[in-house]
Amino acid sequence: MSVPVRTLVAWCPDWPIVALGLPFDEAVAVVESNTVIAASPGARRLGVARGLRRRVAQARCAELVVGERDEAREARTFEPVLAALDDITPRVEVTRPGTCAFAMRGPARYFGGDRAVAELVHERMADALAGRTDLRVGIADGPFAAALAARSAAPTRIVEAGGSPSFLAPMPISVLERPELTDVLVRLGLHRLGSFAALPATDVLARFGSDGRGAHRLAAGLDERPPDARLPPSDWSVSTEIDPPADRIDRVAFCARSLADELHRRLDREGISCTRIAIEAETEHGEVLLRLWRHEGALSAGAIADRVRWQLDGWLNGSAATRPSGGIVRIALLPDEVVPAKGRQLGFWGGESEVDERAARVVARLQGQLGADAVRVPEHRGGRHPDEQLVLVPAATVELRGRTVMADGDADGDGVQTPPWPGRLPPPSPSRVPSDPWPAELRDESGSMVTVTGRGMVSSPPARLVIESGDWGVVAWAGPWPVDERWWDTGDHRRRARFQILTDDGRARLLSLERGRWWVTALWD
């Protein structure tokens, strides 16, 4: 059996935190879809770990600084770090922002061995990182073993040639990152990669299918798929000329989107999908920029377009040292490594999965047209105010197919209810929640402003509501319902008193009094 390509993996831990520029030594976490995806060492000490829900994390650590994940920014800030490796080898591939890899054969011979290259990588990247995070380097046979070597490195771990199987054998089975498979394996009593690798390949294939066989090959220190000697023919690549030269990311991103769609269509026709893609850009001064991106699964059209956008963003808005000297005149996408497409099975009757599929396609299309933030979907956050219970997040950050969104009081599949929010107003909720509340005045019979005392008493019953668009008599009202939120945080502390006001035009509004001023915060239209 063939030995996988000897690979070096350089890994910068906690890159999402570094990219957002959040203070690294404090308790910081980065969340995506309300789930923690990275936590700083300070936060980890306090029990904040990956996979926790945002609220649980904040409950464990009240002073936790939380940032939203921004993959484009992660990629942009990683580009200068990658550029530091360019004179070691031109074929550095990015697995995801924060992790990159390259094949060792050429560099090891040129620089005189694995250790010399590892030292060189440390030296080059340390300058670019400027102490923002540490760097781990792992060298082993095959990218999977090398990535694990990097994770256990302090700061360099070199697994000698041919030593990958014995290096992997004592690793826990969960490193395969296939929760469904490893769950079964653990229940079968297979806790280590070594014991899984010892199973006969044919039995694994019969019981767990091709995906299980891929995992089995990884566990045995082989490549996930048998290496395919075919080089993708050059006519599978797609390119587009940009005239006049573009130096702004929005113009280039627009071309990138249609290019990604075209590439995906072309590969689809051939029945293959792409696991590694080269993104190439040429500037008006003839500079050629090239970067490889890898994805564990196959790259979808949306994923390709995202990566192209991130990469171009990294080039165009990167540091002065790496920025191209002119506008971009040509972009090309070259599939660098391809596998037969497995495809995705639609529902038997074409039912909901087809409906979701169509919706996901139009979302991708509109994102290309309008930008990633223009298409948003609701997500549950929880809160006392109508604008806090559910918020809109960019559709690019969530998986649209088969998702569930809970509203307050809903129970999820396991019967776990969303946490209660004491002080939230009962349904029906207002049908219109302006993002910027309208200033208002609430006056009593004598025409003076209605106020609320520190003990929550109304100074006098409200009689007239005055807002920019008119003024009306108050027919019915209720309140105040005071809320005193985030009193532990001087910056975010808010005290509000809420009122429901029904006026003589038949409209009901939600008003709130904050720091002596009245606001219309929602409307039952």
Binding site: A359, R361, Q369, L370, P427, S429, W524
Partner: protein
């Protein structure tokens, strides 16, 4: 599965029978196929449901709640809903009315720095991909856009719900709330519980004869509730 479910969601036996008939009919034209609506709203539609390819306009006070109520039926039965140009829509109210949040997208047709030509092209992209497109009053559609959209709609079977402009061109059914009365709020006590509304619907074709229905919108839990006659 979407089709199998939505027959059970409709309370009215006649409407349910009609949905079954839809499925077993040898040939169904786009205008004969309907999307389910919530049972309190059934009397407003001559076909007993939203005719595919039609344009519904809602206007006046309470237009947002009414638009959500119209969209809730198809959404609960498995359709996607897209909201264009109305980012202030109350998401909690939408969920309470019966709109499935996991199949809802909110689109800003003219984000800052965009190169897009017009909101009409965004709506055109959505027609055919999602069953219900809710267009906010900030979106201006020119008569030429409307003609192009309705041709596309007839072909793809999507329903357009427009807030504002009942008399605009291309509107098949115009709905408005003619009477409304809130319950539950007193002078300094109580809480908003429900709004009793009377809705009229009139349009062209089968909807030429005016229709009316009275129900609670929103009901005590947010969803529309039919009133006992």
């Amino acid at each position: 599965m979407a089709v199998a479910e939505h027959a059970e969601l409709v309370d009215d036996p006649r409407a349910r029978l009609r949905l079954v008939a839809d499925r077993v009919a040898p040939l169904a034209l786009a205008r004969e196929r309907t999307l389910a609506v919530l049972s309190p709203l059934v009397p407003l539609f001559p076909e007993g449901g939203l005719r595919r390819g039609s344009v519904v306009a809602v206007d006046g006070d309470g237009a947002t709640a009414l638009a959500l109520a119209v969209a809730a039926g198809p959404s609960a039965a498995g359709s996607w809903t897209a909201v264009v140009g109305d980012p202030d829509i109350g998401l909690a109210a939408a969920a309470e009315t019966g709109v499935a949040l996991e199949r809802l997208m909110v689109i800003d047709p003219s984000p800052p720095g965009s190169t897009s030509k017009s909101a009409a092209s965004v709506v055109a992209a959505l027609v055919g991909a999602v069953d219900v497109v809710l267009v906010g009053s900030s979106v201006r559609l020119r008569p030429a856009d409307v003609r192009r959209l309705s041709a596309r709609q007839r072909e793809r079977g999507s329903v357009l719900i427009r807030i504002g402009s009942v008399d605009g061109p291309g509107v098949d059914v115009g709905m408005r709330i003619v009477e409304s009365e809130w319950a539950g709020l007193g002078a300094g006590h109580g809480v908003l519980r429900a709004r009793r509304v009377r809705v009229t619907a009139q349009g062209r074709g089968a909807s030429a004869r005016p229709r009316a229905a009275a129900f609670l919108l929103p009901g005590p839990q947010g969803a529309p509730v039919a009133l006992a006659r």
